[in-house]
Amino acid sequence: MRGINFVTAGALMLMGGIVIYDALRLGIGWGTEGPQSGFFPFWLAAILVAISMMLLLQTLLQRSEKPFVTGERFVPVLKVLGPLAGFIVLTDPPGPWSGLGLYVAAGLYLGFYMRWVGRHDWRAVVALSLGIPVITFLIFETWFLVPMPKGPVETWFGY
């Protein structure tokens, strides 16, 4: 717990420093139209740096043997984060490559997670990873008209 508290306070201080750097570039004083662009961010960041220093001190003084998270309890967290990142990349990877679209990626993601973590029956996996994307597609694309990233499969169906 102490370590991660320390890192967090340090990260906040770094964030404050970066903001101050940019605020100074923008000007923190009085311009022709009142306070300059950097005025508000500068003072916010200055207080943040002061507070993160106090948080660092507080962490140094505190004794806590409790770990932030044990390895065994952290595995399920990574098992959520990993496939989630995979799902986003499959939907539409950053860069010039085109992805599979959100619905296909969602189906694959759902099926993968159900099988890998939940060890569900293959029939349930296939049924839900086909059914849920179709239902969400109908709700969002046809009912609420909210467009999601689409890929070759949707194009093939004429969307």
Binding site: N5, E33, M148
Partner: protein, 506 residues
């Protein structure tokens, strides 16, 4: 004058379309409230993009109905599964779960929903009475007064929020800093973008809410290895009517809970302390305090009444001052801006149909709500029996859709992931998330109020102390900010005083 306006509001709220919208909202909201990782704020944020094309009054009715539903849904998980869906349902688990384990879940749920309804109704009546008055006062406010009120809003997180005041301050500052990223509309300069075009749009509060509250909550619950093992529900008309026969006995608790809830609720972060306070009072004044914690109905009535009174009261400062009293109200306030409305007292003059339609819909929404939850409890409870390996990716996909829909941009889904990790770490380290979201929503408004105040005074901060209303509010805000630092000192002074005074007693 208030009555005609309310009638006008009912004409809007009672159209078949708006009743249907309220019903859908309540159903969705209750599901959202029941599901882990999808609280009120997050649920409203995900569905906000769906309302962009709706008329504003119908849109706000949908969002507020989701909010009522989520408030009701929190009670279901607390009582049947001993899992408080929201921090203010923690106190409900004390007596709700023991009662459910005895096989009295129907009674416990009926008591909870009825109390919620009573608390909410009390607050709605007070909002109907006070909102126009408060708006009238607020019409005379200038930028210094608004900035002072915003200071007061955030100071109450630091001074009254409990927890580590430094951490509360830090999250407030992070929220404000994130809100300054992107184009500064006053000077036309790009701030904190460091040449990245993706940062030019800034950080949207909707994405932050979905990440921090949605994904963060899911990460936390898989880490804790939550398994839902619920009590069985027996719910029928007979149980409901039998419980309603007992409830009037606790009229004192209802009244006390409502007043505590309303009083705490229109200040930010008030619902949770209100529920605990109401519980504590009920226990102290009870003739059987020893029964509390073992399945006493009054122990459900007290926190539920207060939590809902507070949840509804959070709407009052949102519509009159443009300052939300809770994260969910903050998301709705963001919605108002997106629909092209200017939150604040001018709404009562410019858009009376919107304001009164909203107020009237609070009556209809809560009536529909209590009927729907009483009728469909088994259905809502069944949702929690869906295996978590299906629920987890499903909720995450819905969160991703909600994030993408805000600006139709992939980067927002990545932001959602990053905010999710931050939310998980912050929750574990006790950095409060609500102030961050509020600061992100209010950031632009606060900065404008500060700028305009400083322009009025030629750059002198004295303006916040020279105008009488602003001075009182600023002083109060400073007091709250310093309260955590003063408390040990005050205690010492008082401690010394008692020590000095002690010998005179003997």
């Amino acid at each position: 004058m208030g009555l005609e306006n309310l009638l006008l509001g009912f004409q809007i709220a009672l159209t078949p379309t708006n009743i249907f919208i309220a019903l859908i909202g309540i159903l969705l909201g209750t599901i959202i409230g029941v599901l882990p990782g999808l609280g009120g704020a997050n649920g409203v944020a995900i569905l906000l993009p769906l309302t962009f094309t709706m008329p504003p009054t119908s849109a706000i009715i949908l969002l507020t109905s989701i909010y009522w539903g989520a408030l009701f849904g929190g009670a279901i998980t607390s009582i049947l599964f001993n899992i408080p869906g929201e921090p203010w349902s923690v106190a409900t688990t004390f007596d709700g779960y023991p009662l459910a384990k005895e096989g009295q879940s129907g009674q416990a749920l009926t008591a909870a929903f009825t109390s919620s309804f009573v608390g909410a109704f009390f607050s709605i009546v007070l909002i109907t009475l006070f909102a126009p008055l408060l708006a009238e006062v607020a019409l005379r406010f200038g930028p210094p007064e608004f900035f002072a009120i915003q200071l007061l809003t955030f100071s109450s997180f630091v001074g009254l929020g409990g927890g580590n005041p430094l951490k509360s301050l830090a999250t407030i500052l992070i929220g404000f800093i994130l809100s300054t990223v992107g184009l500064d509309i006053v000077t036309g300069q790009l701030r904190l973008t460091f040449g990245f075009t993706d940062l030019m749009k800034g950080f949207d509060f909707i994405v932050a809410v979905i990440g921090l509250f949605g994904v963060g909550e899911i990460l936390l619950s898989v880490e804790e290895g939550l398994r839902f093992q619920g009590a069985k529900t027996i719910m029928n008309m007979r149980v409901v009517l039998d419980t309603w026969k007992i409830l009037p006995r606790y009229y004192r608790t209802f009244i006390r809970g409502s007043i505590i809830g309303f009083w705490m609720g229109f200040k930010p972060g008030g619902a949770t302390p209100a529920s605990f306070m109401s519980y504590a009072f009920a226990k102290r004044f009870s003739r059987h305090p020893e029964r509390f914690g073992k399945g006493e109905i009054e122990g459900i009535v007290a926190p539920e009444t207060a939590a809902h009174a507070a949840g509804v009261a959070a709407i009052l400062p949102m519509i009159t001052l443009g300052i939300p009293g809770s994260p969910t109200a903050a998301v709705m306030l963001g919605g108002l801006i997106i629909w092209g409305l200017q939150p604040g007292p001018m709404l009562f003059i410019d858009k009376p149909d919107f304001v009164w339609g909203l107020i009237a819909s609070m009556y209809t929404g809560n009536v529909i709500g209590v009927i729907v939850v009483l009728a469909f409890v088994p259905f809502f409870a069944a949702i929690l029996r869906i295996p978590f390996a299906i629920l987890t990716p499903l909720i995450i996909v819905i969160c991703a859709i909600g994030s993408y829909a805000v600006h139709n941009s992939m980067i927002d889904i990545w932001y959602m992931l990053i905010f999710g990790v931050i939310g998980y770490i912050f929750k574990k380290l006790d950095y409060p998330l609500a102030p961050l979201v509020l600061a992100l929503v209010l950031g632009d408004m606060s900065e404008n109020a500060l700028r305009q105040s400083l322009i009025m005074s030629q750059g002198s901060l004295a303006i916040f102390f020279m105008r009488p209303i602003a001075a009182v509010i600023t002083a109060l805000a400073i007091f709250f900010f310093l309260l955590p630092a003063l408390t040990p000192w005050l205690r010492k002074v008082r401690g010394l005083a008692t020590r000095v005074a002690a010998p005179t007693h003997d």
